[in-house]
Each structure stands twice: as structure tokens, then as C-alpha cells.
């Protein structure tokens, strides 16, 4: 036995049973396995396509919600940047008093911008906005109060209530309105959206695991002859599992590619009306796609899911010696 072992030129089974395969050879074997997996997938195009479509659609849903969320978040970001207070002056106060308050507020660190809207300005704005210019000009007295439009930086949002209280305490001020309330609401909606995406990702990840696992189970069953032969001629479990793991990886990855393509097509389809709608709110808003980072996560994540599904299937269905 010794003699025959020394005759061997190839990496031999050592006494420890470990294979000594060079990294290059190991890579080559994996490459062959991956190529073989792809060939097998495309040798049954209809079956493969249907499975991939199911995986793709399962992955599409969370991707879609993610895109929706990131588009809504644009508004969130805008509003957070400009926390807003509107303060209305008492009728019986003079422009001079107003301007001195504006001057003192402009030196306040907590405040980004102070816009003063005089009663005349308010009247003009209202007339423009309402189209009731003629009616308004016939009024004897201007019913609109002068006001302050105060913008806070995003970092200063915690100051917003203190500032509002200070302003109400000022005797020049009649009424203070804080826009923070619905800021928080949008934040909450976005947070809820994030949670929903997470739950959906978890549920649909399970679905992908199941779909891939089931496909691999069928393939293992179809190849039971081969597995039996491999087992008898001394293939290790890892060696027998390898093609199935690659197959799972390919399923997951290609499913991810299909989800990505479907999403891109959908975005293309809604691009025009969606851009028009968003443009209505301001030129800075536009339709946001998946972005390369999220795209990469989608593809890597789906490949990983496929691999995991195959792994679970292999551990359950590949025969034990």
C-alpha cells in the first residue's frame, strides 16, 4: 500500500484524510461547479425561468416598498431641514416694534432665517394667491396681521418649543404656530414604513429560502443515482453538496437580477407621471430609483438567500453515507 501511495503524483489522501489541493486547483473546481450549475439551469429553461420569476417577484415587493420609502423620505428630509414657526403680531403694534424684534431674532443662534411679513405684504400675498385682489383693495381696513416666518436648522429642532414659548410670552405677539407637529407625523409614518419593509423582507426571505430549498430538493431527488455513485466512490459530503450550493446561489442571484429588472421597468413606466407629480411640490423633488448600494445589497442578499436555501435543503436531503 505504501508503494502505491508514493507512486501517486496527485495530491493524495493523507492519513488525516484531508485533501491537499492547491488554491488554484480548488478555485478551478469551484469554477467548474459554478459553470456546471449554470449549464444545468439553462438546460431546463422553462422550469428555471418559472422558478426565477417566483423568486424575482418575491424579492420585488420589498424592493418596491424601499423605493417608495426613499421617495417619501425626500419630503421628510426637506421638512426636517426647515422646522418652521409662524408668529402673528397683535393688530395694535407698529412696524417699528416689529422690526426691532426681527433684528433681535436675527442674532439668535437657534434661528436660521427670519422673514418679516408686514400687513401690506400679507395683503399682497393673499391677493396674489387668492386672485381676489380687487375685493381686497376695496376693504377699508387691512384685516391681515403682520407675521414672522422663522426657520430653524434641523439640528435646532429641539429648541422649537422653547422658542415658541418665548415668542408667545412677548407682548407684541398674538399667536404662535409651530409646524413641528406634522413633521413628527411624517417621521413616524416613515418609521412605520421601514418596519413594514423589514417585516416584508423577513417574510419574503423565508419564501425565497423555501422556493430555492424546494427546487434543490427536487434536483437532488432527480440526481439520486449520481449521488449514490458519488457516495460509493468516496465523495465527501462537501464535494457532493458543492454543485447544489452553487445552484442555490445562482437561483438567488438570478432571481435578484430579475427583481431588479422588473423594478427598473416599473420605474421607467411610472417615471413621467411620477416626475410630474413630484415636480408639483418643487423642482428639487424627483423620482429616486434603487441606487447602486441598494441594488448591490439586493443582488448579494438574494444570492446569499439562495445559497442558504440550498444549504438547508442539502443538509436535509443529501443522503448520509
Amino acid at each position: 500500500m505504501k508503494a502505491s501511495r508514493t507512486r501517486k503524483s496527485a495530491p493524495s489522501r493523507a492519513a488525516s484524510g484531508k485533501l491537499r489541493v492547491s488554491p488554484g486547483e480548488w478555485l478551478r473546481q469551484h469554477w467548474l461547479c459554478a459553470k456546471d450549475a449554470l449549464q444545468r439551469l439553462f438546460s431546463q429553461p422553462v422550469n428555471t425561468f418559472m422558478t426565477l420569476m417566483v423568486i424575482g417577484v418575491a424579492l420585488l415587493l420589498p424592493a418596491l416598498l424601499y423605493v417608495l420609502g426613499s421617495n417619501l423620505a425626500q419630503f421628510g428630509n426637506r421638512l426636517t431641514e426647515t422646522g418652521q414657526i409662524t408668529a402673528y403680531f397683535h393688530d395694535a403694534t407698529s412696524d417699528a416694534d416689529h422690526l426691532s424684534l426681527v433684528n433681535s431674532l436675527q442674532t439668535d443662534d437657534r434661528i436660521n432665517v427670519v422673514n418679516y411679513i408686514s400687513t401690506e405684504q400679507a395683503m399682497r400675498d393673499f391677493a396674489d394667491w387668492s386672485g381676489l385682489g380687487d375685493v381686497m383693495s376695496n376693504l377699508e381696513e387691512n384685516p391681515l396681521p403682520a407675521s414672522l416666518d422663522i426657520h430653524l436648522p434641523a439640528s435646532g429642532l429641539t429648541d422649537i418649543n422653547a422658542l415658541a414659548e418665548e415668542l408667545s410670552a412677548n407682548e407684541l405677539i398674538d399667536l404662535v404656530q409651530v409646524d413641528e407637529q406634522w413633521l413628527i407625523r411624517l417621521e413616524q409614518i416613515l418609521m412605520l414604513g421601514d418596519r413594514i419593509v423589514l417585516v416584508l423582507v423577513a417574510v419574503l426571505a423565508m419564501a425565497v429560502l423555501f422556493i430555492v430549498g424546494n427546487s434543490i430538493r427536487t434536483i437532488i431527488a432527480n440526481r439520486s443515482d449520481e449521488i449514490q455513485v458519488m457516495n460509493l466512490i468516496g465523495a465527501t459530503r462537501q464535494y457532493m453538496a458543492r454543485p447544489f450550493l452553487w445552484l442555490g446561489l445562482c437561483y438567488g442571484f438570478l432571481g435578484g437580477v430579475i427583481a431588479w429588472i422588473l423594478l427598473a421597468l416599473m420605474l421607467l413606466f411610472i417615471h413621467e407621471p411620477a416626475s410630474a407629480l413630484l415636480g408639483f411640490y418643487g423642482s428639487e423633488y424627483q423620482l429616486i430609483g434603487l441606487g447602486w448600494q441598494a441594488s448591490l445589497s439586493l443582488l448579494l442578499g438574494s444570492a446569499l438567500l439562495g445559497w442558504l436555501g440550498a444549504r438547508i435543503s442539502v443538509s436535509r436531503h443529501l443522503t448520509k453515507s
Binding site: 500500500m1 502505491s4 496527485a10 495530491p11 489522501r13 449514490q228 460509493l232 466512490i233 464535494y239 448520509k320
Partner: protein
Amino acid sequence: MIRFDEVSQRYPGGHEALKQVSFELERGEMAFLTGRSGAGKSTLLKCIMRTESLSQGQILVSGRNIQRISDKQIPFYRRRIGVVFQDHQLLYDRSVYENVALPLRIDGYREADAARRVRAALDKVGLLSKEKMNPIALSGGEQQRVGIARAVVNRPQILLADEPTGNLDPELAADIMKLFEQFNQIGVSMLIASHDLALITRLRHRMLTLDNGRLIRDEQHPSRQGAGSS
């Protein structure tokens, strides 16, 4: 090389397929395993491959108690044994070449070394010209020879064969046996299960006869044996 000590084997259903079988196959020896259908020939070979475990006794291969080999080590143990099956067990989704190369791929051979060995093995069984064909396109006898090439490509010290001539005509069967004798001459130990008494009694090798799980006869000179086994 292979030693059975009071080996009994019971299938999960409760059927006792081997009953206290003891024998020893020397290194480089060639022996036939015979007996009527259901006698336990396949089971005995499976026990050597350790696809079936024993209920009693022990099997030593190269002095090593194979029941003690861990599950992780089993594949490496099996690589030292070549197996030929009655139904070839070839894979029809790949070429003759790839079928024969399978044990080498599993063993992590480099492509160039593998190619040399595969060609040598195919040459030995006379099928070098058909390496690119799909085994489905070969005759039964040719397929069996591909199976033999696969069994010997890794140069095992032990070759087991289960009904290797089962559905071949007598002439082809004799050819296959001649091939086995050639491997035996270069030192491979062989155990061949066959119920083709007419064929194996003509060959001058040891013959082990199983009957209902018991080893009822162990004869060194088959030429002396008459036909009627119980």
C-alpha cells in the same frame, strides 16, 4: 487484506442477511462469491463498503477495523476500494471520459494527471477511442467496461464487483473476467460476486459460497467442485 470475523448483518426490517460469516482474503488474492439469489452476496460487499453496518462481528481491511472509521473518514476509506456494479451505475449526463474521471475529480487530481490516468484506464479496457461518447450509446458490455475503468482508475488495492457479468452474453462475460484476472496479476485483491457458476468454475480461483446468509463452502480449487450446491 479483507478479514471477516463472525460477521452478522441484520437489515432494519429484521431480516438477517449475513450469519456469522468468517473468512480472510489475502493480499493479491482473487475470489468469487457465489450463492443463489438472496443468499447475501450484495450485502456482504455492501458491508465491506460500509454502506451497511454490522450487527455482530468485525471486518478488518488492511488490518483496520472498518466499523471504527468515523463518518468523516469513510469517503477516504472508500476511495481505496474500486467497485463494479451489475448495472454499471454510469452517469448518462456526461461522456465516457468524465465518467471514468469521476473518482479522480473527487480525489482532487490535477487535470493533466487525471487525463493521463483516465486514458490509461480506458486503454486497458479497450475503449480509448470512445472516450468522447455518451455511455448511453455504448453496448452493455462496453458500458460494463467503462464501469471497470472507473473502478480501477484510482489504482485501488481492492476491487469489489457485484454481478459484473450479470446480463452479458457468455463470450463478453469471459472477456470481462479475463480483464479482472489481468488486474489481479498486477496485485489487486479481488472479490467478485457472481452466480454464473458455469463461468466461474472454469476459472481457477477461490470460491466462497453463501447460502441464506451463511458461508457454507470455501474452496481454494474450484475445478474440483461439482455443480450441485444445496
